[in-house]
């Protein structure tokens, strides 16, 4: 998609160059051709032309719409990771990037990825705004404290590519850089195997789930004080006030950090808020774990009970 972006870039350059050259050339040409000959000369008595006005309003308008449509289509695709994308969790904090691979390998300021595989980054921030930017892949996305954002790309050529923080974040903003190391799938597997793994994200999440005593209220069935989380991820939840929301990453994150915000129907709002007790990385691990929880029985309605 980087190629398509460069194509769109080229198209707009062509349009802009055309108009810039046209107008500049005309201005310079008129200045020369219609140079004032005598001090008392005045210009011709021309007021306007509706036909010209309409023409030079309509043509730029159409060109602008073309740019918009192409850009919007590109943006939609950039904002929609493919379903089979491999997920990597990235947390930005002043002034480093903490990267966690799905199988648990962690990196700081570097991100090894296999080529020819869509990679989806789930991005968070521990403190202020940051932005994960990989110019070679033409992608960037802000890391916003308080929520999770995503971006995706697919590397096609092995190599090393810059990672920049692209949202000003304080003293070492320009030091918050790193590199993406894109490798062939075999090399990537080899690298992974050699990496120190402290467990996959989901395994770490399972451990946290017990350490933080989540399992004392959230049982696999409906017998706990809290709703069952099995089969929750991706389904619709009905809240106490009647609203229906989709249980996505941000819903899970919010429910852990600020549990009163969306209380599930039929339950009391007694869940403690874990703001300040879990880091962004822990949150991602918990979310990874919850995603793995399938319904305990094949019940048609596993949510919100």
């Amino acid at each position: 998609m980087a190629t398509e972006m460069d194509l769109l870039y080229g198209f707009i350059i062509a349009v802009c160059t055309f108009f810039a050259v046209l107008v500049s050339a005309l201005v310079v040409y008129f200045t020369i051709k219609y140079r004032r000959q005598r001090p008392e000369d005045v210009g011709a008595d021309i007021h306007g032309s509706l036909a010209l006005e309409l023409t030079w309003t309509f043509i730029p308008f159409v060109l602008a719409l073309v740019m918009f449509a192409w850009g919007a289509s590109l943006f939609f695709r950039l904002a929609t990771p493919p379903a089979n994308a491999m997920e990597i969790f990235v947390v930005g904090k002043q002034w480093m990037w903490k990267v966690q691979h799905p199988d648990g390998v962690r990196e700081i300021n570097e991100m090894h990825v296999p080529i020819n595989r869509p990679i989806r980054i789930t991005l968070g921030s521990e403190d202020v705004l940051h932005d994960y930017s990989i110019p070679a892949f033409r992608v960037k996305m802000d890391a916003v404290p308080g929520r999770l954002t995503t971006l995706w790309f697919e590397a096609t050529t092995p190599g090393e590519y810059h990672i920049f923080c692209a949202e000003y974040c304080g003293t070492k903003h320009s030091g918050m850089i790193g590199k993406v190391i894109a490798m062939t799938p075999q090399d990537y597997q080899a690298w992974l195997a050699g990496g120190r793994s402290t467990g996959t994200a989901a395994q770490n999440g399972e451990r946290l789930f017990a350490d933080l005593a989540c399992n004392t209220c959230h049982k696999p069935d409906a017998t706990g004080r809290g709703p069952s989380l099995h089969g929750l991820f991706g389904n619709t939840v009905e809240l106490a006030d009647g609203r229906k929301v989709v249980a996505d990453d941000n819903y899970l994150r919010e429910s852990i950090m600020n549990s009163q915000a969306k209380v599930v129907k039929g339950y009391q709002g007694i869940m403690p808020a874990f703001q300040g007790m879990v880091s962004e990385e822990n949150l991602m691990q918990l979310i990874a774990y919850i995603r793995t929880l399938k319904p305990a029985q094949p019940a048609p309605d596993a949510a919100g009970k």
Binding site: F19, V27, S133
Partner: protein, 536 residues
């Protein structure tokens, strides 16, 4: 030849200036103050460009660099560009172009200058006591929770300066609505007035929103009242929406007056009616209105919804159209004109070239898919400098040159007027064109140090900045020189049409006109060959 009692001579004394109600004197007070702030902002720019000559951050510390670019932005935007044309040329010429003796509220006009000075002084205090390192955009939570610099003082300085801006706009609106001379209908007004009217609408509708946004930042920072704090459920992106709701229209505050000046200059140097007068007039209004509907194009990668982004993108495309219409109309005005080759023409041509590039590069950023790659890079920096410096400042300087004889009664050195226009044009392009390339190659903005492959373009940029600075410096020198040693200016050195050229002295008397009241029977720019009968 009768004695010249201009607004400059009478009354005398510092007190008569500091307590003046004369819009022309207030305009000159502003001119002096904004020039001082331009110099300070320019010094910070020099610091930035010197640091960026080498990839390593070796000239100043990271914190100092962050303060340099922040203060460069804050000073240039709030204390130079926003007041620039409206508070100087606008204040001076709107009453004259409306055929009246002063603005509707002369004392409020003076108050606006004092508020500007107070805000500016607070800004200097912020510089002196800790500086500011949040970026001129004050994004939260960095500004509310992380920065250890003088955020509150700086925010208060911008807040106060905002009221100066509001009062200026409010004065213009009431003056244009209620104080036009007999016979001066809306469609006989010079386009300078139309564009200042549109600017004033933006000033009064937009500035209060940045004011309240800064109050919220100050409240969160000093009183601990959480408004944008994610730890209690607040939204840092809400700040961005509130901030850009003003700050995007603000860029139209910065360019619309310049477009008004350019209309005046193009008509005068071509000695020709502006082609498509009504279209140019309505384009100003269209830009002002549409300008309020596009702020989200600064938030494409901030986690804003895709659908909101679509709306903002398409309207951003639309807002480019009236600007294009103006550019075409100015060009068509020059067709079959009688174009002088004096210095104002140079400034006009310079503006056209730079504004074209600046405006057209906005299209890249409005295109959503592309913006992902270009946002937060030097591409954006280049884009906005082309418009605000290439466009607005060239228009401002062009206007200062064009109106200098009228405002001061002196003629500046004409050849040097051309030299500085060329220096500014060349220096500007050398400084900022490389930055488009840097941005596309991926260099982020606000970077103190950068990967070595970006050095060549950065060096070229710094080289250009030197030439640009020379151009500006030269202007100041010969303009100041002319005050004391320049030739006395006639009432209408350019042979231009307009109340300001045809019915006032150079400089004007305190109450502007000898006749009272002024009666207007012609449309604007009514250039006719000698001997033709004209009909209004």
């Amino acid at each position: 030849m009768s004695e010249r009692h201009s607004y400059l001579d009478a009354p005398h004394g510092l007190a008569s200036w500091l307590l003046t109600k004369d819009h022309k004197r207030i305009a000159m007070l502003y001119l002096i103050s904004i020039t001082i702030f331009f110099a300070i902002g320019g010094l910070f720019a020099l610091g930035i460009r010197l640091e960026l000559m080498t990839p390593a951050g070796d000239l100043v510390s990271p914190d100092t660099y962050n303060k340099l670019f922040t203060l460069h932005g804050v000073i240039m935007i709030f204390f130079f560009l926003i007041p620039s044309i409206p508070a100087t040329l606008g204040n001076f010429f709107i009453p004259i172009m409306c055929g009246t003796k002063d603005l509707a509220f002369p004392r409020i006009n003076l108050l606006s200058w004092y508020l500007y000075v107070i805000g500016g002084t607070m800004g200097i205090a912020a510089v002196a006591f800790g500086g500011l390192d949040t970026g001129w955009t004050f994004y939260t939570p960095y500004s509310t929770q992380s920065s250890t610099t003088s955020v509150t003082i700086a925010a208060m300085a911008a807040f106060i300066a905002g009221f100066s801006s509001i009062l200026t706009g409010f004065n213009f609106i009431v003056t244009i609505h209620r104080m036009r001379a007999p016979g001066l209908t809306w469609f006989r007004l010079p386009l300078f007035v139309w564009s200042h009217y549109a600017t004033s609408l933006v000033m009064i509708l937009g500035t209060p929103v940045i004011a309240i946004t800064l109050v919220l930042v100050m409240a969160e920072r000093t009183l601990g009242l959480p408004v944008f704090d994610p730890r209690v459920g607040g939204d840092p992106v809400l700040f961005q929406h509130l901030f850009w709701f003003y700050s995007h229209p603000a860029v139209y505050i910065m360019i619309l007056p310049g477009m008004g000046v350019v209309s005046e200059l193009v008509a005068a140097v071509s000695r020709k009616q502006i082609f498509g007068y009504a279209f140019v007039a309505f384009s100003s209004l269209a830009i002002a209105i549409l300008g309020f509907l596009v702020w989200g194009h600064h938030l494409f990668v901030s986690s804003q919804s895709i659908y909101a982004g679509l709306v903002f993108s398409i309207i951003s495309m639309l807002v480019a159209v009236p600007s294009a219409v103006k550019a075409f109309n100015w060009t068509a005005t020059m067709y079959k004109g009688a174009i002088t080759w004096e210095s104002p023409t140079y400034w006009v041509i310079g503006f056209m070239g730079l504004f074209l590039i600046g405006g057209l590069t906005g299209l890249f950023l409005a295109t959503m898919g592309l913006d992902i790659h270009l946002t937060d890079t030097y591409f954006v920096v280049a884009h906005f400098h082309y418009i605000m410096v290439g466009g607005a400042i060239m228009a401002f300087l062009g206007g200062v040159h064009f109106y200098w004889p009228k405002m001061t009664g002196k003629l500046y050195n004409e050849p040097l007027g051309k030299v500085s226009a060329v220096l500014v044009f060349v220096g500007f392009n050398m400084t900022f064109f490389p930055q488009f390339l840097l941005g596309y190659l991926g260099m982020p903005r606000r970077y103190h140090s950068y990967p070595p492959e970006f050095q060549v373009l950065n060096l070229a940029s710094t080289g250009g900045a030197t030439i640009l600075g020379l151009g500006y410096g030269l202007c100041v020198v010969y303009l100041l020189y002319s005050l004391k040693w320049g030739k006395v200016a006639p009432a209408n050195p350019w042979g231009a049409k307009g109340l300001e050229w045809e019915r006032t002295q150079s400089p004007p008397t305190t109450f502007n006109f000898e006749e009272d009241p002024i009666i207007v029977t012609e449309p604007a720019y009514n250039y006719r060959p000698a001997g033709t009968v004209h009909h209004g």
